[in-house]
């Protein structure tokens, strides 16, 4: 708590740094950093084991983490005011890139997700949208009366569905849904009236039977497999059966690091990427899983505190939606690996081995840090 009660109207004019007697370093929140470093360290230990003690993998992940931290620090220096101004432009850019995929995208495994500028860069525009969409929605609600009326809800839904739809038809249902979710979270945090939500949910439920026939065979298969993995134990059900065995055989305290047979003998697929929580559960047991979830919980708690401290609608909504999106990633990943959700390609945040998704996460944390450090009042 800061002593001087200087009250400023939020939203107008450039923000400026405020020294509040609280430790900050390059606009980084020390608590969030601490939790972040704990999760990342824990993740590296698990990754080391998941990759059969292969230090090359660990080093590569360290390099990515370094890049991620760098990106986070850079973004944290940008005042929220600029972020607010840039949001619609970035959103527009993201949409253009998504559209560019159609003429210029590279097809991998039957879907176009990548844009390739030879020799320069190779990336998925959908990764950018993971941040640009919450930003544009937060911008949209920033100077509107909240809770929103029907018209802003409709407009924001369009803003949301446009990129989500483009991604779903790539096709990349998983990412499309995750992006729609992150946008939707902004809407909820902005005060979307419950009655709209009820109606929307009812609509989705009513159209669920129709959706069943719209989605592709392999997607239907994944849903069926979730309910009964044994229907194709060597094919579609293999991953989930093996990951459940891995988790279950870990017991209370696990088999010990590097001793998990399911992962080290390759019964567990994707053991260092999407299914890494199964390695953790097998080798460190229930204690390991709970520890990680506690760390995630602390992270979310801190993220929420930061959002509550934010001094304008834009910052609040952006910070809150990034935090909740993060928790959705955690839930979807662990839910999928433990067999209560269908298999979708969602990595475990900060722990799974992998590139772009990690950078996007850190960029998001950078946004949170920027919002948190460029303010004048501390409420919490």
């Amino acid at each position: 708590m800061s002593g001087d009660f200087v009250r400023r109207l939020p939203g107008g004019g450039p923000s400026f740094r405020n020294h509040r007697g609280e430790f900050t370093w390059f606009n980084l929140d020390p608590w969030l950093m601490l939790i972040l470093l704990s999760i990342v360290s824990f993740g590296l230990v698990v990754l080391h084991s998941a990759s059969d003690g292969n230090w090359v993998v660990v080093e590569a992940q360290l390099v990515r983490l370094g890049l991620g931290f760098g990106l986070m620090v850079m973004i944290a220096q940008i005042p929220p005011y600029f972020l607010l101004r840039a949001a619609p432009l970035l959103y527009g850019l993201g949409l253009i890139l998504l559209l560019l995929i159609y003429p210029f995208g590279t097809e991998v495994n039957g879907s176009r997700r990548w844009l390739r500028v030879p020799g320069v860069v190779n990336f998925q525009p959908s990764e950018l949208m993971k941040l640009f969409l919450p930003m544009v929605l937060a911008w949209y609600f920033h100077d509107r009366h909240l809770p929103p009326g029907l018209k802003p809800v409709v407009v924001s839904c369009l803003l949301l569905l446009l990129p989500a739809g483009l991604i779903i038809v790539q096709p990349d249902l998983g990412t499309g849904l995750m992006i729609a979710t992150s946008g939707f979270l902004v809407l909820i945090l902005a005060g979307l009236p419950w009655r709209y939500m009820l109606r929307g949910s009812a609509l989705v439920l009513a159209s669920a039977p129709a959706l069943w026939f719209v989605i592709k065979d392999y997607q239907r298969g994944r849903i069926l497999t979730m309910f009964d993995p044994e229907r194709d134990p060597l094919g579609a059900g293999w991953n989930i059966i093996q990951s459940k065995i891995a988790i279950g055989s870990g017991g209370f305290s696990g088999k010990g690091l590097l001793n998990g047979t399911q992962s080290h003998l390759d019964f567990l697929p994707e053991s260092s990427t999407d299914f890494i929580i199964a390695v953790l559960a097998e080798e460190l047991g229930f204690l390991g899983v709970v520890s990680l979830l506690v760390l995630y919980g602390l992270f979310i708690l801190r993220g929420l505190m930061m959002s509550l401290n934010a001094q304008d609608t834009f910052g609040r909504l952006l910070c809150g939606s990034i935090t909740f999106t993060f928790s959705v990633y955690v839930f979807v990943n662990i839910g999928m690996v433990s067999g209560i959700l269908p298999v979708v390609g969602v990595p475990l945040p900060l722990v799974s081995y992998g590139g772009t998704a990690l950078l996007t996460l850190f960029a998001g944390f950078g946004l949170m840090m920027s919002i948190h450090s460029h303010r004048r009042i501390t409420l919490l």
Partner: protein
């Protein structure tokens, strides 16, 4: 902007946000609890089940086959050994496209059409995941090299070295030792799958079959850790296999070879027995086949050639060939007559050259009737009846003894039953009796049947092995020894009802019988019609005392119904030649029976074979030490 600003109510806005964030936090708490509950459920309720399943994933039990016991002759000569064979094995699960793989492989290894078909057939035979099936056997060095060079093209296929049976003596020992065959689908049903895990062969014939359990040994296993692709990572623990016992036979490979030389390519059988032990020294049946052909699976063409050959090489004449004994039965009938005091040594008859049953017009002629047309053997007692092989004497004797006593007492020499301890395929022959004839033909026993039996003709059938066993009892003056192949096997395990032998017969009955048989070989330089029947063929220069008896058996039927050349059929209508013998008389070391199919006269053709074999055993083989064969262990 201005309007919007005016409308914004920051207080209520942040109020809404706090509410929503709190709700969200609650939802996150619920969701995380759900995850913890789910993981906790898997790790507690499902714990033991998961541990079991992960162990089942990880640990595979790999059978380690025992090394099959060797088979050795009495000198330690290898009759059956194990040689390494490089086989091509395939793990069907690891092959993406069997058809393409097979085409590729066929061109790399230059596989024949038959091999390709066999590959296809065998590759479907595995019973568990990631188990490999052998599909091509005995790859040449070149094939192995070609495969290894192209190995990257064939995931799931590998060259594996295995031990397989080898019979270094080839056809010579085929009928004596038997052979193993590749285990097939029918075997799999009846076999103990554990005992034969990873063992590909099973004894199918002869000693290999009888001593299967001992030769097989006990399977061991390794518990190995495998990865998801079935690749072995390390051995956890296991039990070593116990290799099969080596089997020492009484067989004498040198003697067997000598017998083979003596047969000189003729069809027939030789069985020689050591009268002291009952050990079978020689068990030869010719023609034979190379048992190595069967080990890895014989081709249909080769098998059909063997199966349909008029010479029947697959047929084991020594233990399954059933022939009339002809005159070789006479010493035994003489023994029965003397033993029952039906005759005495001095009793004699006047042989006119023919015999007639009372009240019957049929003449039963002696064998020299057609040859010399000068009547019979004249004044004949039991000894002369043997060395001249007088038929009339034995016609008369058989009738006096009667069928009931004959069929009863011939049993004690093992006729009509299987007495060999460890040859599972031996046949029992046929010892006729009233009851048998009634049961099998629904006919009464005619006196004429008894007359025929007196000279070993008619219904009676014996195998060369039975004949040799009976001769061994004769050499032992009645003491029966159970014929057997293996030396180092306990007798009680081989229980089989044995004939009584004739040890109860008084001392005095043996002299005229053995004396008569001695004269068959040694009585010579007499006036015409007084020499032993075999003397002129084998007795002139013999260095030891041999007791023998020739025989000539009628051909019962031409085997099979196939169309053969007339000349061949003519040849196959000729009589079978027998010669039985033991030597030396004073201390018999070998008793044998020689049979030449369609060989002609017993003394002229079979006796020299017997002499050559016994010569080898007593003279060339004399002084040979019979080593006590220790277990030769070969890994």
């Amino acid at each position: 902007m201005r309007e919007a600003l005016a409308l914004k109510d920051h207080r209520s806005e942040s109020q809404i946000y706090v509410e929503r964030a709190a709700t969200g936090a609650g939802v996150v708490l619920v969701l995380f609890s759900l995850l913890i509950f789910r993981v906790g459920y898997l790790q507690s309720v499902q714990y033991s089940d998961s541990v079991a399943r992960s162990e089942k994933n990880r640990v595979q039990v790999v059978a380690r086959p025992p090394v099959r016991g060797l088979i050795l002759d009495r000198q330690g000569v290898l009759l059956a050994e194990n040689r390494p064979s490089r086989n091509l094995e395939v793990i069907p699960e690891q092959i993406v496209n069997m058809q393409d793989t097979l085409l590729d492989l066929a061109s790399v290894l230059e596989m024949s059409e038959a091999e390709t078909a066999r590959f296809r057939r065998l590759s479907g035979r595995t019973t568990r995941r990631f188990e490999s099936a052998p599909v091509l056997f005995d790859l040449s060095d070149e094939q192995v090299a070609r495969f290894e060079a192209n190995r990257f093209r064939f995931p799931g296929i590998s060259v594996q070295a295995k031990l397989v049976r080898n019979y270094p003596q080839g056809a010579l020992m085929a009928h004596a030792v038997g052979s193993v065959r590749r285990i097939n689908d029918q075997d799999t049903v009846s076999l103990n799958a554990t005992a034969y895990a990873s063992t590909d062969h099973i004894g199918k014939l002869g000693v290999e079959r009888f001593y299967e359990t001992e030769l097989l040994g006990q399977v061991g296993y390794d518990r190995v850790e495998v990865n998801a692709r079935g690749r072995m990572m390390r051995v956890l623990d296991g039990v070593k296999p116990i290799n099969g016992q080596n089997l020492s036979l009484y067989l004498d490979a040198g003697l067997q070879a000598a017998a083979d030389r003596a047969l000189d390519g003729r069809r027939g059988a030789v069985v020689a027995i050591d009268p002291k032990t009952g050990g079978i020294l020689t068990l030869l049946s010719r023609p034979a086949y190379d048992p190595n052909l069967f080990v890895q699976g014989i081709s249909h063409r080769n098998y059909n050639a063997l199966r349909t050959s008029i010479d029947a090489p697959l047929f084991n004449r020594a233990i399954q060939g059933q022939y009339q004994p002809g005159s070789t039965l006479k010493p035994f009938i003489g023994l029965i007559a003397l033993g029952s005091s039906t005759i005495t040594v001095s009793d004699s008859i006047e042989d006119p050259g023919w015999y007639q049953l009372p009240g019957n017009e049929r003449l039963y002629r002696d064998w020299n009737w057609t040859k010399t047309n000068d009547g019979g053997h004249g004044h004949v007692n039991i000894e002369k009846a043997l060395y001249r092989s007088c038929n009339v004497y034995f016609y008369d004797l058989a009738v006096r003894l009667g069928i009931d006593r004959l069929s009863q007492d011939l049993k004690q020499f093992g006729f009509g039953q299987v007495s060999v301890l460890d040859l599972p395929d031996a046949d029992a022959g046929l010892l006729p009796s009233r009851a048998w004839k009634r049961a099998s033909r629904n006919l009464p026993w005619y006196p004429g049947d008894t007359v025929n039996l007196g000279i070993g003709h008619g219904d009676i059938l014996v195998t060369p092995l039975q004949m040799a066993s009976a001769v061994a009892a004769l050499a032992n003056r009645g003491r029966w020894v159970a014929p057997r192949m293996a030396q180092n096997q306990p007798l009680e395990a081989l229980a089989r009802a044995q004939p009584s032998g004739a040890g109860q017969l008084p001392e005095h009955v043996w002299a005229p019988i053995i004396g008569g048989m001695e004269k068959v070989v040694h009585r010579g330089n007499q006036v015409y019609g007084e020499n032993g029947t075999a003397w002129s063929y084998i007795g002139r220069d013999i260095e030891y005392r041999m007791a023998g008896k020739s025989g000539t058996a009628q051909v019962v039927a031409i085997e099979q119904g196939e169309v053969y050349e007339a000349a061949m059929i003519e040849e196959r209508k000729r009589k079978h030649a027998w010669f039985i013998a033991f030597a030396p008389i004073e201390d018999p070391k070998i008793a044998l029976a020689v049979l030449l199919e369609n060989g002609g006269g017993g003394s002229e053709y079979a006796a020299p074979v017997a002499r050559e074999i016994i010569d080898y055993y007593l003279l060339e083989g004399a002084g040979r030490q019979v080593p006590n064969v220790e277990m030769v262990s070969r890994q």
